[in-house]
């Protein structure tokens, strides 16, 4: 019985340490990378939302709501790890398609070539994967 309790305690300690290490990695490695990448991703989102507005795919209030969502996401990246997890998990899915649209709009306007667009899209892909890693998915 005592051995079983000891084994269980050890297991709980190991699992606890692993979870803690994961959160430390999220806070010390992933969040700084997300913060660093956000200005570029945000510029793509803004571009996509403006294009949606210009093309009549978004109303003014929908556009405002998306940019407010982007602001909340940005603030959360400088907040606690728990808040960043919660806010990014809620806000990013709605913003993601507009970032991709922003890249497409730059190509359509002749600002960037296909290869540069591939790089911008790769950042969006990694940003999306990093949000998943932040959530523990």
């Amino acid at each position: 019985m005592r051995r079983a309790i000891l084994a269980l305690s050890t297991l709980l300690l190991v699992v606890g340490c692993a979870g803690s290490a994961g959160n430390a990695a999220r806070e010390r490695a992933l969040l700084p990378a997300l913060r660093s990448a956000w200005p570029g991703v945000e510029a793509d989102v803004q571009r996509g939302v403006n294009d949606g507005l210009d093309d009549g795919d978004l109303t003014g209030s929908a556009s405002d709501a998306l940019m407010a969502s982007a602001d909340r996401l940005e603030k959360s990246l400088s907040a606690t790890i728990e808040e960043a997890k919660s806010v990014t998990g809620k806000e990013w899915p709605a913003l993601h398609p507009w970032a991709a649209r922003g890249v497409m709009d730059r190509v359509d306007d002749g600002e960037i070539g296909a290869g540069v667009a591939a790089s911008l899209n790769e950042r969006i892909v990694q940003f999306d994967a990093a949000i998943d890693a932040l959530q523990g998915r």
Partner: protein
């Protein structure tokens, strides 16, 4: 510009390799993945030098590599504890400094 980029990425890879090797065998899979990813992105940049908006691509690839390193840190920490968290943090600083040098 292309030579500068290759030099910067090479310096980044050498620094990263040295730090990861110090951390031991258990991170070799993540290292290989990150090394291959960085090489792949460097090849892509080399192929599009001179394309309109090239500077945007350099910034985007810098961000993508840092994100990939952050994801690798989380994956490894979740699987193997916090042995190399400090090292990855240092690596991210190297990424930021080295890849930003003279290009962004």
């Amino acid at each position: 510009m292309e030579e500068d980029l290759k030099e910067i990425l090479n310096a980044f890879l050498q620094q990263l390799k040295a730090e990861l090797e110090d951390a031991g065998q258990d991170i070799s899979v993540s290292w290989d993945e990150l090394r291959m990813y960085t090489a792949e992105r460097a090849n892509h940049l080399s192929a599009i030098v001179g394309e309109p908006g090239f500077e945007l691509a350099v910034r985007a690839e810098r961000d993508a590599i840092a994100l990939k390193a952050g994801i690798a840190a989380v994956d490894t920490a979740d699987a193997a504890g916090q042995r190399w968290l400090g090292m990855i943090q240092g690596t991210l600083i190297v990424v930021a400094k080295v890849l930003a040098l003279g290009i962004v």
